[in-house]
Amino acid sequence: MSDAAHNGWALRTTPRRSQWFPKPSALPGFGITFGFAVTYLSLIILIPLAVLVARAGELGLDGIWRVATTPRVLAALQVSFFISAAAALINALFGTIVAWVLVHYDFPGKRLLDAAVDLPFALPTAVAGIALAALYATNGWIGSLFAPWDIKIAFTPLGILVALIFIGLPFVVRTVQPVLQDLDREVEEASATLGATRTQTVVRVVLPALTPALLTGVALAFARAVGEYGSVIFIAGNMPFVSEIAPLLIVTKLEEFDYAGAAAIATVMLGISFVTLLAINALQAFSRRRFGHA
């Protein structure tokens, strides 16, 4: 026996049997739970989504392209895309401030505010929609403050922005907050002992560590905003070419029994979500490799 044996190497042998599915375990119940989970997933999620894509596929790629580039659809997609992006960016800034304040400072009402961040997750979107519309209309509590300057918020693209900020905020705060919490205090102290000012520490040490989480949160907020419907339609005004969002156009197409057209727009939106999802996964994989946490 050679000295190498000390380290107890793993020996590689060719498996005689084909790969087990699952790997053998003393625990029972894999067949029934796995079977039920996969069947249910397929029936509720996968098959319906496949039907959607197949339906859009009937138009062919150029057919989808034609639907997606009709001026009204294109305008709606642009409204959805750009206002969602704007809302996500505003949330990036204020969401980070909120997370920062909740993690680092103590002030009266902090716990309440912390719990309130999840409100958009819990409040039905239709309720949010009519509440925001009432609040930001020219005769509402906030809308009336802007009325003297002739700024209209509700029933304009600005209204959509307000609704999408509301919807996206918790995604940013809830992704950034835990990372901020777990950030090693010693690293900040090390930075200070090396002579950095507080601003330098925050800009050079804290924010870079926060970036992957922040980007993930922004991407999540964006993905949610692009598809958002309930809270937007009440405050948007829904003017074609101005404040009409893509999900609303799907509903319109359905009401006209243009199933293929609806499926085409839906497929384009699925594509956008899919790309965003891929970006989020890539970000998290990168963050895990680089920082050891997602």
């Binding site: 050679s2 000295d3 042998t13």
Partner: protein, 347 residues
């Protein structure tokens, strides 16, 4: 004598990586057997195979000469103590211990009063009387370990299996628990297998020790046999504080680096490995064949003094126990001889 557990040609691989290879082992009834080896040597996998927590890729396991390979974990009646205890965190200590009795089919389940009595007895046995209402999170590591043992004993197992039972504890608690486990074993007489990578623990505690390496057993024997008569180079190198020296054997002389030592080397010839422990070296008398070694350092280990010696350039340094009162100092040259020869032909 009957055999309590017998493994025949046992093998287990994960994803094509062999963890246990063609392993044969016999366990005597009532003995305390330590499974000792480096990490990854297959000892825990073997223990889990015995318990039925893994199913073998090949081979058989017999309990009392009956094939138990196809028996499920439930039916094997083993008491398994997990490395991190695996206490049920939502149950208190008494409920944890009673669990194995309470899950029995109604026909064989003891009455509530009987269960309570057994739990109280076990709490006494593991010296945790009065802590039955505590939850696992409210216990120290050592206490959790003892609850895990009581829980395993409650089902009156045919065999007790312990996976690194003291692995997660600090040194002081380890030593106390070690002695205590030995006492419990002597009192209850369970056939017991325990996995460890700590040779001091294995050698001190066990009746016999099985040395694991690369998924197989290199040697099974009493601590004395293992220490004094290692069967393989691996055992000689793994057990005891041995230093391995490359040597060459030719016509009853041993070549260590530049030194030639006229000494009987048994059947070994050619390139070989010599395993040297501090007690294997002694100061040579004038008549003995000797190597001149240079003292690099002298240090105190408990009551004795040890010299760290350089035999030659390029060889690992060795240690030697100095006789009481010897005044060796750094830089001295000492004549040294081998009083014990653990020699294995190189492969």
């Amino acid at each position: 004598m009957a055999i309590a557990i017998r493994a025949e040609g046992l093998a287990k691989s994960f994803n094509g990586t062999a963890a246990v290879r063609d392993l044969d082992l016999e366990v005597q009834p009532g003995e305390l057997l330590a499974l000792l080896g480096p990490s990854g040597s297959g000892k825990t996998t073997f223990l889990r195979l015995v318990a039925g927590l893994e199913s073998p890729t090949a081979g058989r396991i017999l309990f009392d000469n009956e094939d138990a390979t196809a028996l499920s974990v439930r039916d094997r009646r083993v008491g398994f103590v997990f490395q991190h205890y695996a206490l049920f965190r939502h149950l208190n200590v008494a409920e944890n211990i009673a669990y194995g009795l309470r899950v029995r089919p109604r026909a064989t389940r003891p009455a509530d009063a009987e269960i309570r009595r057994r739990v109280a007895d076990l709490l006494d046995l593991v010296q945790l009387a009065g802590l039955g209402k505590r939850f696992p999170t409210q216990l120290s590591g050592g206490q959790r370990q003892r609850v895990a043992l009581a829980r395993a004993l409650a089902v009156e197992p045919r065999v007790l299996l312990l996976d690194e039972p003291f692995g997660a504890l600090d040194a002081k608690v380890r030593r106390d628990l070690r002695r205590w486990l030995r006492e419990i074993h002597d009192r209850t007489g369970h056939t017991t297998l325990f996995v460890t990578h700590d040779q001091e623990e294995a050698l001190e505690l066990a009746d016999r020790v099985a040395i694991f390496n690369l998924g197989n057993v290199e040697q099974v024997g009493t601590p004395d046999e293992i220490l004094d008569h290692p069967a393989t180079a691996f055992v000689a190198g793994f057990v005891g504080e041995a230093v391995r020296l490359p040597v060459n054997v030719a016509s009853s002389s041993l070549r260590i680096g530049p030194h030639q030592l006229r000494i009987s080397c048994g059947k070994v010839t050619g390139p070989a490995e010599l395993f040297v422990r501090p007690h294997d070296l002694a100061l040579a008398t004038d008549s003995q064949p000797a190597i001149l070694a240079r003292v690099l350092a002298v240090r105190r280990t408990g009551p004795a003094r040890r010299a760290e010696l350089a035999l030659a350039d390029g060889l690992p340094t060795v240690e030697m126990e100095l006789p009481a009162g010897h005044t060796a100092r750094k830089g001295d040259i000492l004549p040294v001889t081998l009083v014990n020869l653990r020699l294995f032909a190189s492969r």
